[in-house]
């Protein structure tokens, strides 16, 4: 960052805001994202590309569901659980939603404490986030097991349109993979924060570069995105 700060004289001046700001930022023959580091900008661009991937999954699900002549299985009944004799519709998915939202809450606070250089609280909150994420994946594994036992396959199921299984396994599987990768990275980052790598500017294992607490925010961007995708899956796949 020190290097680009030397060449980027624009940062010393106050930049124009609004539409003029967009034109000024993009036309300056320098970096378009003036007060955002390359790490954060690249995470945003990655998330944009990931948005398109999930959009394609949800779109193919929409196309399948709209074009099939066989009735679509009712998610409210398929994902119902019988607890203590009463059947509650969609209850597992609702709990999973609350768990993922809670993990986003703890992640947001971890970022905040990271910037306040409170490394113990930041690391603890990141571990809490990872624990919520692992719980979510565990419940998803339970859900998959239950559905597979009931005879759901990517090529068919007992209740209706065959495309239900393939859409379900593809969409939730891809999302679960994202959560799992996030949990692994959260644990790695929590260890670094806990150890005080970003206070002592210890060099990274892979990159040999000094890190700073911004990495917690970048990690947070990824994690919130995982939560964001779940919001769409919950609405469009489970509730629709």
């Amino acid at each position: 960052m020190a290097k680009s700060a030397l060449t980027n004289t624009g940062e010393a001046l106050t930049r124009p805001a609004g539409w003029q700001g967009i034109a000024a930022d993009w036309s300056s023959d320098q970096r378009a994202f003036k007060n955002v580091s390359w790490g954060k900008a690249m995470m945003w661009i990655f998330l944009l590309s990931d948005t398109f991937i999930f959009s394609c999954f949800l779109l193919s699900y929409m196309t399948d569901r709209m074009s099939t002549t066989v009735p679509w299985p009712n998610p409210s009944e398929v994902f119902a659980l019988t607890i203590g004799g009463t059947t509650i519709p969609l209850i597992l998915i609702a709990i999973m939603t609350f768990i993922l939202i809670s993990s986003s809450g703890t992640m947001a606070m971890a970022v905040n404490f990271g910037y306040r250089r409170d490394r113990v609280k930041s690391a603890a909150l990141m571990l809490a986030t990872a624990a919520f994420g692992a719980t979510f994946v565990g419940m998803q594994a339970f859900e998959w097991t239950k559905l597979i036992m009931e005879g759901v396959r990517p090529w068919g199921n007992p209740w209706g349109a065959a495309q239900f299984g393939s859409s379900f396994f593809m969409i939730t599987g891809f999302h679960g993979t994202h959560v799992s990768i996030g949990v692994i990275f959260l644990i790695i980052m929590a260890r670094k924060v806990w150890r005080g790598d970003f206070d002592r500017e210890r060099r990274g294992f892979f990159t040999s570069r000094k890190g700073n607490y911004e990495i917690v925010e970048i990690m947070g961007l990824y994690w919130h995105f995982v939560d964001l995708v779940w919001v769409f899956i919950f609405a469009l796949f489970y509730l629709w």
Partner: protein, 110 residues
């Protein structure tokens, strides 16, 4: 330095995150209740979509700090996904057509 700048730029009170967290719980409960009470038709769809967009907006704006970024980044990231709606429109036509041919030529459902 970027780091020093972000310490100033992305420093918000913890209370803000707790309030958003609370709202996300409320909105999720509402969307679950839509299913629990078995609302159907346009009421169901509009409620589901509205709650979905509200939740997504809160997460992106506050948790991901998009509300405090410069417009140049905001539009670069938020405008392209809107174009997916064109794709949605295209695939709606396509699936209507597929359904039509399936009903017409395979006689399913009749």
């Amino acid at each position: 330095m970027a780091q020093a700048m972000h310490v100033e730029g992305q420093q918000h009170p913890i209370k803000l995150y707790l309030v958003v967290w609370g709202w996300l719980f409320v909105l999720s409960t509402c969307s679950y209740l839509v299913d629990y009470f078995g609302l159907q038709g346009y009421l169901r769809w509009s409620l589901i979509l509205m709650l979905m967009i509200l939740k997504a907006g809160l997460i992106v704006a506050v948790f991901m700090h998009m509300a405090w970024e410069r417009l140049a980044l905001m539009y670069a990231i938020l405008v392209p996904p809107v174009l997916v709606l064109v794709f949605v429109g295209t695939m709606t036509f396509e699936s209507d057509y597929t359904l039509f041919t399936r009903v017409k030529f395979f006689g399913a459902g009749s």
